[in-house]
Symmetry: C2
Subunit: 324 residues, 2 copies
């Protein structure tokens, strides 16, 4: 990962969050500690904690309080990935074995439950009812989104709207509330935390669209898993939806997807990847991601011109252009 | 189920909770509504909500506020059963198909996640930080207990202490906080809510011991699932631990359990059930359950002699003697 300035500037506080993440997953149950640390130790960009810290700079910055929301948000993200891997039947994530492939589905389910509950426990220390209201609503939406994802597997008739609603629930909401809660916990005005929510929401949509593009166009080294994983498991993403709008390609892509579904994804998908890459669907998706990045940055317009604002803009551009 | 007076006396409020449970599981996602209502519609005694109501009578009773904790506690219980069924590979629960057998494991996992998040969302409406502190700590313990259960499958060397710690996490804690939170939300003294916690904790231990006895001694009609389900899946319960202390039976029981494990529980278990039933392990377990019931009732000694106290004693006796 390209090191953004923000990681340099916030090195100490990001480090404190990292230690807090580790400390909170220690239990007297060796297997549970091992499984729950497994994904965490594989790294990840800690984007949600970083957004909490930046949000916090719009109010009275207190790392001790910000930690109590940054850590839960990273844990919720982590828990949802562990559960996702059960659903996705994924064997690798962040370049290493998933919990469900290294142990089994049942262990992955309970590991996710534990990480999730731990996040709640830490957030409860803030003693702020607004935080629970926002967190719990987001968690409900996320779980509906997870179910939606299953419903839409191999569903080639879905619309752009179906896709956007799904990635809103799956990705954008948690990123949005990371920005919002950072500011709220730091006592910033509601206007500010709402603007930051809007920033995070749009960045989150762009982030997921980029992620879906990378799954189709990245190399295994770049993305830490084999390309085409989405289509193998029936996850119809934005570039595919756009590619299916091409009259000439529609038929051949549909029959490839049907063939993939018949063998439960246990097949080479390079033909359909080539068709999608050649369809213009990537460019269209990329253009939509750019529009969300622009909307995200515009949401910051009226906020005070502090260092954190420049950093958020940098994060947005980084996400808009990310290649891994 | 024998109708306890409490269900008659509290019919209106139990009905209100029932409607609230149903209303909160409605979503615009038909499958999710169906899966999450599935277990709920099969009934259940709603013991946790009833305990909340009784706890509430020790303070300023307000059904609108009590609902906001009774409903989440029943939902957490329900979510944990849905996840348990994935682990237990259970096909029936409360006399009907489980979510995981009617749909699949992935759907059961996300249904549990959704029900769980919904519970949090409702509890957040109380805007009481103490509630979140207590709930989240219990949820962490419950998830550790779930993992412990897997670790101890077919583990015939476990001690009474291992078993008690496991059922504390699996069952007793949630029942304990049901009593405690009912009183707390109604503004009762901390002394009162702590006494009620202790009552619920001991009742919860007795409840799980009775449940484990029933799994060995009940009929399929009585318990809504085939007897011996626990031992089939490797869940070594208290009567088995006691039976294994019998020098003459130890060898034969161990070899039966080994045989069952080898075929992953896909076998007739009537031989081992007969051995356990004949071992005195049932009577010893029953005696321990009785001791916890006595401790539960003793915990109420110093509380004001209101109607709810008599009802709690009745609930304790009911649980101590339950045969289904």
């Amino acid at each position: 990962m390209k090191i953004l300035n923000i990681y340099v500037r916030k090195k100490k506080d990001v480090g404190a969050i990292e230690r807090e993440l580790e400390a909170n997953l220690q239990t007297d149950h060796a297997l549970l500690t091992e499984t729950s640390m497994h994904l965490l130790k594989a790294g990840g960009k800690r984007i949600r904690p970083v957004l909490v810290l930046l949000g916090g700079e719009f109010g009275t910055y207190d790392i001790e309080r910000l930690k109590m929301i940054a850590v839960p948000l990273e844990l919720f993200h982590s828990a949802s990935l562990v559960h996702d891997d059960v659903i996705d039947d994924a064997d690798t994530r962040r370049g290493q074995d998933t919990v469900k492939s290294k142990w089994d589905n049942r262990i992955a389910m309970y590991t996710g439950d534990f990480i999730f509950a731990k996040g709640l426990e830490i957030a409860a220390r803030l003693e702020d009812p607004r935080v629970h209201m926002i967190l719990s609503k987001a968690l409900v939406e996320m779980s509906i989104g997870e179910m939606e994802q299953i419903r839409f597997f191999y569903h080639t008739e879905q619309t752009l709207r179906d896709y956007l609603l799904r990635i809103k629930r799956k990705t954008a909401l948690l990123i949005a509330i990371s920005c919002q809660l950072g500011a709220m916990v730091a006592g910033a005005d509601e206007y500010v935390s709402n603007r930051l929510y809007s920033f995070g929401y749009n960045v989150g949509l762009a982030f997921q669209i980029r992620d879906d593009i990378l799954d189709l166009c990245g190399t295994e080294k770049e993305i830490g898993k084999p390309p085409g994983s989405d289509i193998k498991q029936g996850n119809i993403t934005l570039p595919v939806i756009f590619a299916l709008q091409d009259e000439k390609l529609r038929g051949p892509i549909l029959s490839e997807i049907e063939r993939i579904q018949k063998v439960d994804g246990q097949t080479d998908v390079s033909r359909v990847l080539d068709m999608i890459r050649g369809s213009g669907g990537i460019e269209k998706s990329s253009a939509l991601a750019d529009r969300y990045i622009a909307k995200a940055i515009a949401a910051l317009d009226t906020l005070p011109n502090i260092r954190a604002k420049q950093d958020l803009i940098q994060v947005a551009h980084f996400i808009g252009n990310r290649t891994h």
